[in-house]
């Protein structure tokens, strides 16, 4: 099954999280205003209170203008990124990189502007929740957070980051192609050092690896992740063993016995395109406020809630046992999940007060993943979806006429330990993530040297999934993330999977006939529930745990995923657990 490919993930991360860079202007600015406010409070507390309120409200309004300007320029950056991957002629790469760098410079100036600093300083000292209410206070909270991160990174540090990320990426592409770990190792070493330096500068209150996690998953820590993943691993290991024992004993009995779902010329590209478009619209993707295009690496890109673009690819073949089309419908579900979050953010309807403000943004990488995995794993990989989708497949691809919805359901839900994370099934996927989490911890603590990574990796793969790694290209060189400077990013994939379970369970409680509706092709209640409870909530809360508590009544609970997978695969593989 095609899982969240790295390209899309990086694109999303770029769109959602803002790379901070700056110089320490903060300290020299803005104190004046806030001192004046405090002084007023001493002189006459009741008129001062009215005056503070007015002053804070005025500062808030000005702050919003600045933030919206930055948000719009971020949207422009996202347009350039999408165009580069989907439209740009190959010979324009150099000119485009210069255009992006000029724009990044202009955005940096806006993010670190003296007048923004003055507003931030004034609002930092105010009790904004009291004066402005919870939503506006959340805007202020995140504006301060962004500004601080930006200003704490020196211009030189930002330039070194950009330079190293470019160099490491190109080295990684070559090293993976040539299966040459020693060529990439020094770059990884440099990257760990630089990201430690950046972490210490921008998030001095945290440990360096915690700080890297915080870039993608606010409110999460190494310690908490270790707890979550320990519980998850303990819960999934017996399930996985039981499945593998069963397959060893009986062969894999799940799946398509007729062979109609295997790759063949019958899967015409034009029909795939029509089917994927039909399903994307059915799931609720709004083509008046989005596009569906083709690119070699599927991804979702949002310029604004009214312009969200997903891409997919079509192929008549596939290296594995199931036809590309099925993968592409899965990919469409994955991308639609991301896209619905983006289209559902505040600003999608006219005259939303919070359009373009931080509160309208996605809360974390994990929450974004949860929205894509909810549609991919809870919906697409579920029986009700195939009751709906099987007739559509029959219509577009008559050669599948003999396949029942149960055949489709079983074909897409096979467990098979493998080398490559992005191809992993939902049971083994968390093992790939836990391995990477442990690797990153060891790299940042200094317990593991980059030269020893391949041996470490290969042993971990053998221990966890009983898989022999034939080459580093299919092992420790497979992912782009570290070459792109993204450490602490992998955990979000599995946090998203856990949250997807919890959100889906909550949705089922709120909409008792949810799965009947899905089976009948009515996805609207689910979409609307997500819109209302997650998408439009954006970054109101300052951690996914708080969002989970409000929406589901529980904070992050890895056992939700364990229970779901155990129930599902016990039935599929006839296990006694």
């Amino acid at each position: 099954m095609a899982r969240v490919p790295h390209w899309r993930a990086v694109a999303i991360a770029t769109a959602i999280f803002q790379a901070p860079a700056g110089a320490f202007m903060l300290k020299t600015l803005g104190f004046r205003t806030s001192r004046a406010v405090v002084a007023l409070g001493v002189i006459n507390s009741s008129s001062a209170s009215a005056s503070i309120k007015e002053s804070v409200t005025n500062a808030y309004v000005k702050l919003c203008d600045r933030l919206r300007e930055i948000d719009r320029l971020n949207g422009v950056q996202a347009v350039l990124g999408w165009d580069e991957q989907v439209m740009m002629p190959s010979g324009a790469a150099k000119a485009r990189s210069m255009q992006k760098s000029a724009l990044a410079g202009a955005v940096f100036e806006k993010r670190t502007a003296a007048d923004l600093g003055a507003l931030v300083s004034e609002l930092r000292r105010a009790d904004t929740t009291d004066v402005l209410g919870a939503e506006k206070a959340a805007v202020v909270r995140d504006a301060i957070r962004d500004f601080d991160h930006e200003m704490r990174k020196s211009k030189d540090m930002a330039a070194r980051e950009a330079e190293l990320e470019g160099r490491a990426y190109h080295a990684w592409v070559k090293a993976r192609k040539e299966n040459d770990w020693p060529a990439f190792a020094p770059l990884l070493s440099e990257m760990v050092h630089l990201k430690s330096e950046v972490a210490a500068a921008t998030r001095p209150e945290m440990g360096v690896y915690d700080a890297n996690i915080d870039v993608f998953e606010r409110g999460m820590s190494r310690e908490r992740l270790a707890e979550v993943f320990t519980e998850l691993k303990a819960g999934l290991t017996p399930l996985l063993s039981a499945i593998l024992d069963k397959i060893k004993a009986d062969g894999d009995s799940s799946g398509d016995s007729s062979g109609a779902l295997s790759p063949s010329p019958s899967w015409e590209v034009k029909k795939q395109e029509a089917l994927c478009r039909q399903i994307a619209e059915k799931l609720g993707f709004d083509l008046e406020h989005g596009r569906l295009d083709v690119s070699p690496h599927p991804f979702t890109s949002g310029f604004h809630p009214t312009d969200v673009r997903i891409t997919t690819r079509y192929s008549e073949n596939w290296i594995e046992g199931i036809a590309g089309t099925v993968h592409e419908v899965c990919n469409v579900a994955t991308q639609v999940g991301h896209a619905l979050y983006e289209q559902g953010r505040r600003g999608g309807s006219d005259n939303d007060d919070f359009d373009g403000l931080p509160i309208s943004r996605a809360l974390s990488m994990g929450v974004h993943e949860s929205q894509s995995l909810l549609w991919e794993r809870m919906v697409f990989l579920g029986r009700p979806f195939w009751k709906f989708a099987t007739p559509l497949f029959h219509e577009h691809f008559p050669h599948t006429a003999e396949c029942t919805s149960e055949d489709f359901y079983r074909a897409v839900n096979k467990v098979s330990p493998g080398l490559i994370r992005v191809n992993a099934d939902e049971v083994t996927y968390p093992m790939h993530i836990i391995l990477r989490f442990e690797l990153e911890q060891a790299l940042f603590s200094g317990d593991l040297k980059v030269a020893d990574v391949p041996a470490w990796w290969n042993k971990a793969m053998k221990d966890t999934l009983d898989v022999e790694v034939p080459s580093d290209a299919q092992g420790c060189l497979q992912d782009v993330h570290h070459a792109a400077g993204a450490f602490g990013y992998f955990p979000s994939y599995t946090l998203g999977a856990i949250m997807a379970c919890q959100f889906y369970e909550a949705a089922k409680r709120a909409i008792p006939d949810l799965e009947d509706k899905i089976a009948s092709g009515d996805f609207k209640p689910l979409k609307e529930w997500l819109n209302q409870n997650i998408h439009s909530i954006g970054s109101l809360y300052d951690s996914p745990d708080k969002l989970l508590e409000v929406v589901t009544g529980e904070r992050l609970d890895p056992m939700a995923l364990v229970r779901h997978l155990t129930r599902k695969y016990s039935e599929l593989y006839k296990l006694q657990l």
Copy 2:
């Protein structure tokens, strides 16, 4: 024949010419540095001379950094514009306009930055040709020109312009649709007033209409245009009368007697697309550094010489007597002409010192038009092209097998006075332009009131082309230009047609077997001659007249067009002139 549609033209204008806006910071900045340089010259002339040289060279290097940054942001603006017209989902219009406005604000700040002003002031006083040479001196000349125009327009004036252009555009769309001149008239009146005010502020050394012309056609004046158009009208009127008399007497004997070139379902859209792509590449359009897409209004957009995109449209029908495909091939030739200019600008090859600097830009709207009209009228409307293209048409559209290259040539070269400029043939086209030039003069001088425009227009159409105007929608409301605030723009279309003749004659002198090469499908010598003599020359000279003199030995000469058309149509219509 489909002529240069207004949308494309406006898009090109936006990409090439930079709307100035600013505040009078100029006067308060930068004098210090240049005074220091002058003072040095008094103290010790020889060491001062070395010191001046060093100081000017340093300032030039810094200036180039600033100009390149602005140029790259202009490229980003062009990407947004292209995306908006070709890709953007309809529901994103409001968000996109906010993104554009945020970016425009950032670009404005760069264009009017204090440090740019200081560099401009320093270089304004230096003899840059002596110190830097002619090419770099041209960079400085245009940087000063741009900066002055920018700074002389107040922020308020720029805002009023943007606001009125938006409002007038929407009023025009509605008024044209509803054939309601009185609804548009007050907007036109406002626009003439505002553009007079802008002209007086930004180009105080010129008359207001001259200043409007100068925005699109540097070095051109109302007076000179009046001379050129008087000569042109005098030359073309007898030709046109003779053609019309002949048609009246004999019927139009030119064109396709078989009917195969008329609209029919045989003109399949897919085949049109394939043919247009093949011809675009054959003409020299480089798809590694460009794209060919579909949009309702064909246009060319250049983000950089390495990323130039043309659009066309395909239709199985056409309102006139000749099939859409032939129009679309013509349109492709038109757009390729623009695109080759853009791809041939400096910066297209690696490490060009003048990449992103003003000298690499198109010299004027008229010169840009000349490049498109050279390919459209001198090549596409010529016999040699049809010797090459006819077999391609036979191959893609077998139903045209009986049509000879002479049939095609005659079908695309019919003279027929009509109401609509963009549909006009090459003999009547200049009459539409001269009418608009006279109209604009009368509006700016105050000799004509906007309420009287329809009557004036209809009389002029009757007098010039013997055409009755049935509605203002097909008369004085047909063009977008005035609603978009573009006065003095129309003349460039016909200046371009004249220059196209002169350039083509010069190319024929330089490449004696040029038309044999075209007939054999070898367009490379012509493209390379244009690359070398026009495209890469960019804005080295400060007027099209100087460019014409260098390339053709003559300045602008309307008789070149008169001679060309008289020769061509005397033969086609068997006239005795």
